[in-house]
């Protein structure tokens, strides 16, 4: 009996012994949890220490390597910690377009513990575009792309440009090197040894101004005038002198003599007339004397290259209105008296005027306007370039004039000259900027700033043989200058 009791006691003790729980103090699990973000040269990874209590570790972080064996790892060390939970590692300087492996680690009591391994692939770089497409030497362009590394270099042809900043791997600010031998350069971008070519060639903002006559139009400073071009013949006249002298004449530029000479046309003093810049003009005001009353004029003419032919009186008084010719018909529109958006059309075939649908907004001659592909375009005072179809009366805003306009200073005047698919626009009153607008892609390219006195206003604009010519009148030291502008010279 006693022996049995001893056996039972022994067995019980044995069972107790085996049922004792060995308490593991401070166990932890480690996890490489998630690849949060990968770009070209950068990756963000989440790791996690799972434990039920604070466990001090001497170091924790991540191993990154191109081989799963982690022979030559990039180690991101986050230092000692004792709190379980997630931790974040960020690595930069990775090679573009490569496969990488990553695993979390902790060092505990001198022992290195690794977690599971995840893999990811860094992205390849690409160029999406740049702007502006045209810039001066020394100016700045911004190249937009993806996965551009901090070591990005930019070349214009063979010349390296100064990279001012690489912005978050998607934009590069670059200083354009001075112009060398060509107005167009191919841009190359080198990032982490990968060379990328930008599709659209870069163009320099060029252009050269040449003063042909410092005292054109017999020394008058002509304003509120009309101007037009017939073939290669340039005309300007009517309006008034800035000193309020009557300018009843029309001058023509004589290339052989290099001076402006009066034509046989004489009118009463008529200013603020509408003109199509193609030979149709008229309207505005009469003034019998400098201080006399302003009388609206309904006199219109057309110069066909040989003679000034008088048109029938227009059925509306328009002053400072638009004038434009589309498909051989002359339109007058808007102006500063009356409704401001009314349109009348003169048809040479019937020799009569007829009313047309109003324009969508008020317009006046202070707004740059031009005709391209039988559509009327104008830039309103909010910089919008508006396209108007005179046959369907549909309009839409197609672009914006890029230069800032300052109310009452530079939002009036200026010129627009259509040369093929390009339109040169600019030289608003007291402004220097000229832009080249590509009508096919509606892209604005900067041209060289006007080098003469800025405080003037355009009173004539013409084109011939790829060159631009313009008259610019000045109120201070009254005069009218005649300039030539070569848009491609530098």
């Amino acid at each position: 009996m006693k022996g049995r009791f001893t056996q039972i006691l022994f067995l019980t003790l044995l069972l107790f012994t085996f049922s004792c729980e060995i308490e593991e103090v401070g166990t932890l699990n480690l996890l490489t949890e998630e690849i949060v973000n990968v770009s070209g040269e950068r990756a963000v990874v989440l790791g996690r220490i799972i434990a039920f209590e604070n466990i001090p570790v001497e170091d924790h972080g991540f191993y990154f390597a191109e081989e799963e064996s982690f022979l030559d790892p990039i180690i991101i060390s986050l230092g000692a910690t004792e709190r379980p939970g997630r931790f974040v590692g960020e690595v930069s300087g990775l090679q573009l377009g490569r496969n990488y492996f990553v695993k979390a680690f902790v060092v505990r009591a001198g022992e290195m513990i690794f977690a599971n391994t995840l893999s990811f692939e860094t992205l390849n770089p690409a160029i999406l575009g740049y702007e502006p497409l045209v810039q001066f030497g020394g100016g700045e362009i911004v190249i937009t792309g993806i996965n551009l590394a901090d070591d990005t270099r930019v070349f214009f042809g063979d010349r390296e440009a100064e990279v001012r900043e690489v912005i978050f791997g998607f934009q590069v600010r670059v200083t354009v090197p001075p112009i060398a031998s060509s107005i167009s350069e191919q841009i190359r971008v080198v990032t982490r040894g990968i060379e990328l070519e930008v599709e659209t060639p870069f163009r320099y903002a060029v252009g050269r101004f040449n003063l042909l006559d410092a005292n054109a139009l017999e020394g008058l400073s002509i304003v509120e005038n009309i101007y037009f071009q017939q073939g290669e013949r340039f005309f300007a006249g009517m309006g008034r002198d800035s000193g309020n002298q009557s300018t009843d004449f029309i001058w023509e530029y004589n290339f052989a003599q290099g001076e402006w000479v009066k034509t046989g046309f004489e009118a009463r003093m008529q200013r603020a007339a509408s003109d199509s810049h193609t030979g149709y003009f008229g309207g505005g005001f009469f003034q019998t004397s400098i201080f006399g009353p302003q009388i609206p004029s309904d006199n219109y003419w057309h110069f066909d290259g040989l003679e000034y032919k008088e048109l029938p009186p227009a059925p509306i008084n328009i002053s400072d209105g638009f004038g434009y010719e589309i498909q051989g018909q002359f339109y007058i529109a808007g102006g500063t008296i009356g409704v401001g958006s009314q349109v009348y059309r003169y048809d040479p075939a019937s020799n009569a005027w007829e009313i047309r649908p109003n324009l969508p907004s008020n317009v006046d001659k202070g707004m740059v306007h031009f005709v391209y592909n039988d559509h009327l375009y104008w830039i309103d005072r909010d910089n919008n370039l508006i396209q108007y179809n005179p046959f369907t009366a549909q309009s839409q805003t197609v672009s914006r004039y890029p230069s800032p306009m300052i109310e009452n200073t530079t939002d009036s005047g200026g010129f627009a000259l259509v040369m093929g698919d390009k339109v040169f626009i600019g030289l608003y009153n007291n402004a220097r900027e000229i832009w080249e607008l590509d009508m096919e892609i509606l892209d604005w390219g900067r041209k060289q700033n006007f080098t003469g006195d800025a405080r003037g206003r355009i009173t004539g604009a013409y084109s011939k043989d790829g060159l631009l010519y313009f008259l610019r009148s000045y109120l201070i030291n009254p005069r009218t200058e005649f300039w030539e502008f070569d848009p491609e010279a530098f």
Binding site: G85, R86, E90, G169
Partner: protein, 366 residues
């Protein structure tokens, strides 16, 4: 014996004094709160950043917007879009042409003015199964008021859930328009508010007002229990406040697909919003979003950034098609254009409610 009685009582009294416990709650650093999501519909997508003030019995301050931060949206191809801060501080918008693409995943990265960096976990945009149709029905819900039930309109979405594919849905009600019916003829009887100009006999009775549908519960679901089955489920609820359904209510709704993490986050938020204080409520909990501080992963960042494929839905809820609605309906005894009228002494000049419908207002004919 008496000698010891009073000192003993005094001792007892003293020992029962309550020492107030000087508890000082640790006011942590104001947490960054991120609000916003991007969708597959092109437009200005907005992200709003704020600093959450500590909520408690003592008024600490308002949630201040986080301005002058750099906010970037990055996709898995490496394309980066920078959001521009607006005049309204803390509000950041993409360009108008920006839209998320289905199949792409997006991260939101934020660099605050004090150079702290935050990044969201990647959010994948999955194509949302399109809605076949949307219907609605009036519902009557027992309320705490024994004599009066609550009324409302349930909106049901009918769609085919794709089989063998994990889908997570989220429906969000947006600012909506409704016909505001007024009874200005009753003004003289009931007497309008003080200071309101007397209403001429011809004054307006029908206006078009804007409304944010209430209650603001979150409708979200995962397809674990109905994978591959055709669904006709409640996707929105608009409470009848007596004013909304006097004529026509046009509910604006977004039908979205979200990720599992976002669905879970929204579900937890919804649970917290539905707390009524009963013993059966789940305990209030701290809900972690998917924003991570790169400088301090333990830092609390509030909010969830997500990217969704979206289908915009408009439902015209017409009174004539409702089986029942709240009675009596709310009377507006003034011209409807003065619905937002405030006493001039408040110094607030309320805008007039328009009498013309929105340009795209096109309710079905009865």
């Amino acid at each position: 014996m008496k000698r010891f009685f009073f000192p003993f009582v005094l001792l007892v009294l003293l020992s029962t004094c309550i020492d107030p416990y000087g508890f000082n709650a640790e006011l942590g650093e104001q947490a960054l709160a991120v609000e916003g999501y991007i969708t597959t519909i092109p437009g200005h997508q907005e992200i709003r950043l704020r600093r959450a003030e500590v909520f408690g019995p003592d008024y600490i301050g308002i949630n201040r917007p986080e301005g002058l931060a750099t906010v970037l949206i990055k996709d898995d191809l490496g394309r980066v879009t920078r959001l521009v801060e607006q005049e309204q501080r803390g509000l950041y918008l993409t360009e108008e042409i920006f839209a998320a693409e289905t199949g792409r995943s997006y991260n939101l990265e934020i660099i605050t003015q004090n150079k702290k960096r935050y990044i969201s976990k990647a959010e994948l945009v999955r194509e949302v199964p399109k809605l076949d149709s949307v219907t609605y029905r009036a519902v009557r819900i027992p309320s705490t008021d024994l004599l009066n039930d609550d009324y409302g309109v349930q909106v049901l979405g009918h769609f085919q859930d794709p089989k063998g594919q994990d889908n997570y849905y989220f429906w969000r009600t947006m600012e909506s328009d409704f016909v505001l019916i007024a009874e200005p003829d009753l003004e003289n009887i009931g007497g309008g508010p003080a200071g309101l100009p007397p209403c001429p006999p011809c004054c307006e009775k029908i206006c078009y007002h804007k409304d944010l549908p209430k209650p603001g519960n979150i409708f979200t679901v995962d397809d674990t229990e109905f994978d591959g089955l055709y669904q006709s489920r409640v996707i929105a609820f608009v409470e009848d406040n007596g004013l909304r359904f006097k004529d026509t209510y046009r509910l604006e709704l977004q039908h979205m697909s979200v990720t599992q993490e976002t669905q879970r986050y929204l579900q937890l938020i919804d649970q917290q919003l539905r707390l009524t204080g009963s013993v059966f409520d789940p305990p209030p909990a701290n809900i972690r979003g998917n924003m991570i501080s790169l400088d301090d992963p333990d830092e609390l960042v509030l909010g969830q950034f997500f990217a969704v494929d979206i289908e915009q839905v408009q439902v015209y809820i017409q009174k004539s098609k409702l089986e029942f609605f709240r009675r009596p309906q709310t009377i507006v005894p003034r011209c409807c254009i003065h619905f937002l009228y405030q006493d001039p002494r408040t110094g607030y000049v309320a805008p007039l409610v328009p009498t013309t419908p929105p340009s795209d207002w096109n309710p079905p004919r009865d």
